[in-house]
């Protein structure tokens, strides 16, 4: 039976509409679809065939089964805040949006876990349990709007994963719709170490290429008894990054250890959440320790000692929770804030061994000089996870291409010093080619072999994560054409 209100002759649209049941759960007009032509990564765009909004696991399974049977490429999408293009319908996919599966299904405080649907927004989980003194640890900067389903796909990190780990360390169980439409439960009842290969670990961070997660059991944590947050201002980046290394070497495990350089400070101060960082400062560290209140002073004193040894100009401690909140808002909206000082930016996500920080920053500086593009650095210094933000103006011919090149060069530097090309944003479309900086062909094949077990026809989110010979050149060419 046809669904009322569908104005299309395409039998696939009609059939997909049938599965989701009503005209408000599918979009297929170009005017609406164009809103789905990219995610948080905007340098590549493609229209999907349709976007469907299932309400439950069974509908997801039915949609997947339909796509598999008719060889229609498809992919899953949450809030679309990913920064590497993982949800971009490169092949005109049917997008399965999980934004109508956004419930918190249950919370079990005694056993410290919660069950959520994939479209449930990260921060809402913490907000829902904070009255009982609990929180969900992974806190990507986009946590105001990104979904936990998307976090699982990308193995999202965040400022506090230095001490508490990334998404994969907090996932206890998953319900997954496989690319053939089968529904499987992995990590039954959220009990750790289920016998068998660790599919939980494999699926987390698989960027939506192995299956569609429809239910997630996560670990929740008790709020630390106390937190102390300080800002430390440095007159040169070298001192700031040495301080980072020294803090870690001193045996302190801060809850967060963030750094911003001068250009980044200019951006966040020009944007919506300024906090009054001095304008002439070269680097600011945002340091947070948490835990038992009685032990924190000792840690803070040790940190201050380290900073002083590294010629810190000024140190400020947050006077209250409100101030701490403002500092974090300033930091967490840092990427978007770049809009205030540059029409476009490209964010990179390399990771390096912490001790190589000063060297890497100076090499990034050099890349900036050579390309003529400003590069702001906002990063999780404690993890060695860098976010060089290449600032450019896509309207100026050639700048998009230059920005991509500069971004790639930054990743090459990270790989050169024994690091990696992405710490939390994922490979997606953006860094497919750069995978070669860190993996041999054989190692990449070892991974695509695993994909073929789950996703043999490669209908699910094809063209992501792994390099495809020749493709990268095409994208760059396309950008060049568009910007000229």
């Amino acid at each position: 039976m046809a669904v009322k209100g569908i104005k299309s002759n395409d039998r696939h649209i009609l059939n997909l509409a049938n599965i989701v049941g009503d005209a408000r759960s599918i979009i297929y007009h170009k005017e609406d679809l164009i809103a789905y032509d990219c995610d948080g990564f905007t340098l590549h765009k493609h229209l999907p065939k349709a976007v469907v909004f299932p309400k439950n696991t069974e509908e997801v399974a039915a949609l997947v089964k339909y796509c598999a049977e008719h060889q229609l490429p498809f992919l899953a999408r949450g809030a679309g805040t990913g920064l590497s293009g993982g949800a971009i319908p490169l092949n005109g996919e049917v997008i399965i949006s999980l934004m109508r599966m956004k419930k918190l299904l249950s919370v079990d405080f005694e056993n410290r876990r919660a069950v959520v649907q994939p479209g449930f927004v990260n921060l809402k989980l913490t907000n829902s349990i904070s009255d009982k003194g609990y929180y969900y640890a992974p806190d990507p900067s986009s946590q105001y709007c990104c979904t936990i389903g998307g976090n699982v796909a990308e193995n999202a990190g965040g400022a506090h994963c230095l001490k508490y780990g990334v998404t994969t360390n907090h996932i206890l169980g998953l319900e997954v719709v496989l690319p053939n439409g089968d529904i499987v439960e992995i990590g039954a009842n959220g009990i750790p170490d289920e016998p068998g290969y660790d599919l939980l670990g494999l699926l987390t961070g698989s960027e939506g290429t192995l299956g569609i997660v429809t239910k997630i059991t996560v670990r929740i944590l008790k709020n630390p008894e106390a937190k102390k947050t300080v800002l430390a201002y440095f007159d040169n980046v070298e001192d700031g990054s040495q301080a980072v290394s020294d803090i870690i070497s001193a045996g302190i495990v801060p809850a967060a250890l963030e750094m911003m350089d001068k250009t980044a400070i200019e951006g966040v101060e020009a944007a919506a959440f300024p906090v009054g960082h001095p304008k002439d400062i070269e680097a600011v560290l945002l340091i947070e320790v948490d835990g038992i209140a009685d032990g924190l002073d000792e840690q803070i004193n040790q940190i201050l000692g380290v900073c002083r040894k590294r010629n810190v100009r000024e140190v400020r401690a947050a006077k209250d929770e409100a101030e701490r909140g403002r500092w974090w808002a300033n930091r967490k909206t840092g990427f978007g804030a770049m809009g205030a000082i540059s029409p476009d930016y490209l964010v990179q996500d390399g990771v390096i061994p912490r001790s190589r920080l000063p060297e890497v920053l100076s090499r990034i500086n050099k890349i900036s000089e050579e390309s003529g593009l400003r590069i702001a650095n906002i990063f999780h210094a404690g993890d060695g996870n860098l976010h060089p933000l290449v600032l450019f103006d896509a309207r100026i011919p050639g700048q998009s291409e230059k920005a991509l090149e500069a971004g790639s060069a930054c990743l090459q530097v990270c790989a050169d010093v024994g690091g990696t090309i992405t710490g939390e944003h994922g490979v997606g479309i953006e860094k497919r080619e750069e995978m070669r900086f860190v993996f041999t062909d054989e190692e990449i094949i070892a991974q695509t072999d695993i994909r073929s077990v789950f996703n043999p026809d490669n209908l699910l989110n094809a063209g992501k994560l792994f390099p495809m010979p020749g493709r990268c050149v095409e994208i760059k060419k396309e950008i060049k054409e568009r910007s000229s």
């Binding site: 780990g165 994969t168 496989l178 039954a188 990771v351 001790s355 993890d383 990696t420 695993i450």
Partner: protein, 439 residues
């Protein structure tokens, strides 16, 4: 005859003193006609390549502490021992990362790292003998998992020799990494069925500046009270690194008190540990006894604790040992410990059990007659299944493994596990029939 041929062929890869003919079958199984002891990754690769090309089966071991853990074949063609593939490849003190060869013994590593006030934040059993590769391949963890996690939280990179001899790296040497699939996870706990782990890179933690252990003993029959206490402690802002419930027999052995005891580990700066001790004393339930072990006394307690698991094949006709790993929802640990304790009467067994109230993993060591062991495992497995959990037999003589499935029922998604095995090891060279569902 076959052995001689094998010997000769392997001799082209390894010098003969590192190829040993295994004459007697081991009571725990998982033997080889010949045991080879490679010293380099190239040798490991060459051995696997040879086996892969010639249809030989290979078992892998470190120092043999998990020999009784799974496996339905008494002897493969080759027993690949990593006992001589040892040493630290790289330790970057400032980065707090460490790369070691798989055969390196855990305790040696911890002793080495202690000089730098660092440690690997794992607490596996038999740390003096267990090797890093074995700990990772079997995903062994102890009570401190509550505070520090397990191999999947600590391992950041691996080098794996694939069954065809290719060397594949997964992860890297940085603490945060999402480039490609998280392949590390695939090999952690895979029981060597996908590849031979040759190097392990872990992230390190600073040694705690101070540690203490609170032993809180409850009168008999107070499981509900234990549960209430644990819930209260977990709901507080205290940060115990262990919250391990010990069965009465285990408690008696470790501290001379025959009653259920909760072992609460505290590791932090001294002011913080002291503060937490006071808090715990303030919520100490009536009729319980509380004892605090500080510093080295706490360490000594744990050292004894980790050595308790049965590793040697001390099987005689009258006494069989087994060790079970049980996973349940956190607070159901109380039920598991209670039921396991009952086995000593119903099955005439010596029972030592403990389980983490903050993570849901239990270990039950049983000693007694074969038939009683078999029946006890079946009984425990049945009741754990009712709780929605699983029972894995971590140690059992080879003969009994034919009767009792080490891994329990196949999961519904078994086809995925089997698919992965078929893809990576299509000729089923490595540790055949060692893992879930006969993988």
């Amino acid at each position: 005859m076959i052995t001689a041929e094998l010997f000769a062929e392997l001799n082209s890869i390894l010098p003969s003193e590192r190829i040993i003919e295994e004459k007697n079958n081991h009571p725990l199984g998982n033997s080889g006609l010949v045991k080879v002891i490679p010293k380099t990754e190239e040798e490991i690769a060459a051995i696997l390549q040879f086996a892969n090309e010639h249809g030989k089966k290979v078992f892998v071991e470190g120092s043999g502490t998990k020999r009784g853990f799974g496996g339905l074949i008494e002897s493969a063609d080759i027993l690949l021992s990593l006992s001589n593939y040892t040493g630290i490849v790289e330790h970057v003190v400032g980065d707090m990362t460490l790369t070691v060869k798989a055969g390196t013994k855990f305790k040696e590593l911890q002793e080495y790292l202690a000089q730098y006030n660092q440690k690997i934040s794992l607490d596996p059993f038999c740390p003096t003998s267990a090797t890093m590769g074995g700990i990772v391949a079997s995903n062994d963890s102890g009570p401190k998992r509550l505070g520090y996690g397990s191999s999947r939280d600590v391992v950041i990179g691996l080098r794996i020799v694939y069954p065809d001899g290719k060397v594949i790296r997964s992860g890297g040497r940085v603490v945060k990494n999402v480039a490609g699939y998280d392949m590390n996870k695939l090999f952690i706990g895979s029981m060597g069925t996908l590849g031979v782990i040759s190097e392990v890179t872990v992230k390190l933690r600073p040694l705690p500046k101070y540690e203490s252990l609170i032993l809180l003993s409850f009168p008999e029959g107070q499981m509900d009270e234990i549960r209430r206490f644990a819930t209260k402690l977990l709901d507080s802002t205290m940060e115990p690194v262990t919250l391990e419930l010990l069965s009465p027999t285990l408690s008696e052995k470790l501290m001379g008190r025959n009653c259920n005891t909760v072992a609460i580990g505290l590791e932090d700066v001294e002011t913080s540990v002291r503060y937490q001790e006071k808090f715990i004393q303030s919520i100490q339930p009536d009729h319980t006894e509380l004892k605090i072990l500080a510093g080295q006394d706490a360490q000594a307690f744990w050292n004894q604790f980790y050595s308790l698991t049965p590793i040697s094949p001390t099987d005689s006709s009258t006494s069989t040992q087994t060790s079970l790993k049980i996973g349940v929802i956190n607070m159901d640990v109380t039920t598991v410990i209670k039921e396991s304790h009952l086995l000593s009467d119903t099955h005439n067994l010596k029972v030592e059990a403990h389980g983490g109230l903050g993570h849901g993993l239990c270990q039950i060591n049983l000693k007694g007659a074969k038939e009683d062991i078999v029946s006890a495992i079946q009984q425990i497995r049945e009741s754990v299944t009712k709780l929605g959990g699983y029972t894995v037999v971590k140690h059992l003589p080879f003969a009994l493994r034919q009767e009792i499935d080490t891994w329990g029922q196949k999961p519904t998604h078994f086809f995925l596990l089997d698919g992965i095995k078929s893809k990576v090891d299509p000729k089923r060279v490595l540790n055949p029939k060692r893992f879930v569902g006969g993988i």
